[in-house]
Amino acid sequence: MPGQTTGVRIPWRRWSIVLHRDVGYLAVAMTLAYAISGIAVNHIADWNPNYRISKSFVAVAPITATTTPEMIAAAVERLGLSAAPKGTFRPDPQTLQLFYKERVYHVDLPTGKVMIESTVPRRVLYEMNQLHLNHPKNAWTYIADLYALSLILLAVTGLFVLKGKQGITRRGGWLTAAGTLVPVGYWLLYVQ
């Protein structure tokens, strides 16, 4: 018949809804991890998002040993440490550093004053930051790429989920334009 189209009609809106729903479910965990880590690393100038670093002080008897191995043995004994350090260093003649898991002992040999520097990873947040900033590299690079593609898909399909006055041609369109103005406007007003 004149004016009638032939062939299979692709149900775009239905596909958008289905993709938006299922990809959205798949992306929930990654989105939460990336968003929480994003807030954490955004304020890196004000705090350490990966580690809880604290310093405490104790005093032991001055260490008068003359060789480094003797100094290490004396410090380990006086601090009551049960294991040998995984590494040691003398940054200057009067200081001895003992490295343990999550702890460094800075021993001032002549006075016996000891600063204990504790560095403990912030559980969960540390792992999220590692993944967010792609520190594992290797396969994670491609998983993160896949996630980024899924976000693009979510953004695009999200535009076509609703129709009518809440859809992209009316209210949705205005909101999308407003959202676009935020980065574009900021760039033009404050960055350029």
């Binding site: 299922d22 890196i44 940054p91 999550e102 396969a139």
Partner: protein, 159 residues
Amino acid sequence: MNIIRSSVVALAVAALTASASLAQSTKDYGKPLTLMVKTPISSILKDPKAYEGKRVQVEGTIVEVCEERGCWIRIASDKEFEAIRFKVQDGVITFPMEAKGKVALAEGVVAITNLTREQAVEQAREMAKERGTLGSFDPSKIKGPVTDVQITGEGARVK
């Protein structure tokens, strides 16, 4: 439904494989190590000009890690009271704080920078910020121009 289940399992396995590399005891960072000969850090610090611009491989205990971004480590020399900074490109290599006390085999190019007092103060201030010791930073301790020797890092193995 089976496709969804398979996809979820595949994603989980891939994520676990990627994270497993985090847990290894020996870890490689950046480009693979290529040099066969190690240069003592004491030799570099004794005569930096002789090594300027040269690619070297050094080995030593990691005695400090950049707290803020993990973008540098200090490696102890083979001689007491000496260490050298191994600086990597931000974000390309990130050393974890757990690396402190472990031994690094690291490769890079020796760089010498002559700093005026003002530049030295600014660099020390930045270092103090990265160390988290900005509160106790005292610029008056830095006297005169400073010659800074460091290795511009390309790759490292931490064990």
